[in-house]
């Protein structure tokens, strides 16, 4: 059975939901702790949402130096599928695994809503079960969600097809409506909205509310295909 690790930092909030999403698609969630030195030989890793270490300096800034991050950065550079959700995305940016940074939302408000996203890149380890251009709905909940990068970086991300998700109706001022991006290799994906909160009918957004499931089944599918 594919084993997908979920890293818990002090202040992580959505590690339980991420582990549950992994279980729902038929993979085995493996709890990883921020102070671990290794990734316990998992096949993929999720960095969950929350406010790691309180996010006092900047979101994700302290987590980047957690002991487990050394092993994670090496494994990610070696091709391990890694998904960063919300705070996890911020940690991946601070770790330089993904480009750009997040600042406070345009109108300083904590945004909490069901958010429509367009899938721009369906060839990553985490999005291969979506159709290109497909619109999906998953919850968005954050205060520091405005994606920022300089124009050269944004041009590069767009030119190389590394914008994975765009907001349909920009909720926070993110540059070029970017909600999620990937690295050059396509194994590391980060996004601000929360697919792990849209995995079971009746508990996610209105309607079916299970669009988030395919993030996790995509990863499982890529792992099975590569074995």
């Amino acid at each position: 059975m594919a084993r997908i690790g979920v890293i818990t930092f002090p202040g992580s909030l959505d590690d339980g939901d991420a582990a549950r999403a992994v279980r729902l698609v038929g993979a085995e969630p493996v709890r990883l702790w921020h102070a671990d030195d290794s990734l316990a030989e998992v096949d993929a890793v999720i960095l969950p949402g929350g406010f790691s270490y309180g996010d006092y300096l900047r979101a994700g800034a302290i987590s980047r130096f957690a002991p487990v991050m050394g092993a994670l950065v090496d494994a990610a550079n070696g091709g391990l599928p890694v998904l960063g959700i919300c705070n996890g995305f911020q940690i991946l940016c601070e770790s330089h695994l993904l480009a750009g940074a997040m600042i406070k939302n345009e109108r300083l408000t904590f945004v909490c809503k069901d958010q429509t996203l367009r899938v721009d890149n369906n060839s990553t380890a985490w999005t291969n079960e979506f159709a290109a251009g497909e619109e999906i709905v998953v919850p968005l909940k954050n205060q520091d969600g405005q994606f920022i990068a300089d124009d050269a970086t944004l041009d590069e991300l767009e030119g190389e097809g590394r914008v994975v998700f765009r907001y349909v109706g920009n909720p926070n001022g993110s540059r070029r409506d970017i909600a999620g991006i990937t690295n050059a290799r396509g194994n590391v994906v980060g996004l601000m909205p929360h697919p792990e909160h849209a995995v079971e009918a009746g508990f996610g957004p209105e309607g079916a509310g299970t669009d988030g499931l395919r993030f996790f089944s995509s990863a499982l599918g890529s792992l099975l295909a590569s074995n």
């Binding site: 300096l57 940074a101 300083l108 300089d150």
Partner: protein, 87 residues
């Protein structure tokens, strides 16, 4: 005891939502003379002993690598400041 002060500001080309919100509130409170506001961070790093060139170099490195994120912020100053005498 010595104190090294590190000051960090959002990059000029990046809109500063916090500063913008403060700028919006000032006129409502009667402070009408300020055209704009930008909000940054100040860190005070205390060291035992003197702020030697090595201490300053370490503070500059910490400022560049941890205290600021170069994608969105600039380190505008790293300097030694007097420590107030405690009684």
């Amino acid at each position: 005891m010595a104190r090294v002060v590190v000051e960090i500001m959002p990059k000029p080309e990046i809109l500063d939502p916090q500063g913008k919100a403060v700028a919006g509130a000032l006129p409502r409170l009667g402070f009408t003379g300020f055209a704009s506001v930008r909000q940054g961070k100040r860190f005070e790093l205390e060291v035992e002993g003197e702020a030697t060139e090595e201490v300053l170099a370490a503070a500059r490195k910490a400022a560049a690598e941890v205290l600021s994120n170069p994608v969105i912020e600039d380190v505008v100053s790293v300097h030694v400041a007097p420590v107030a005498q405690e009684d």
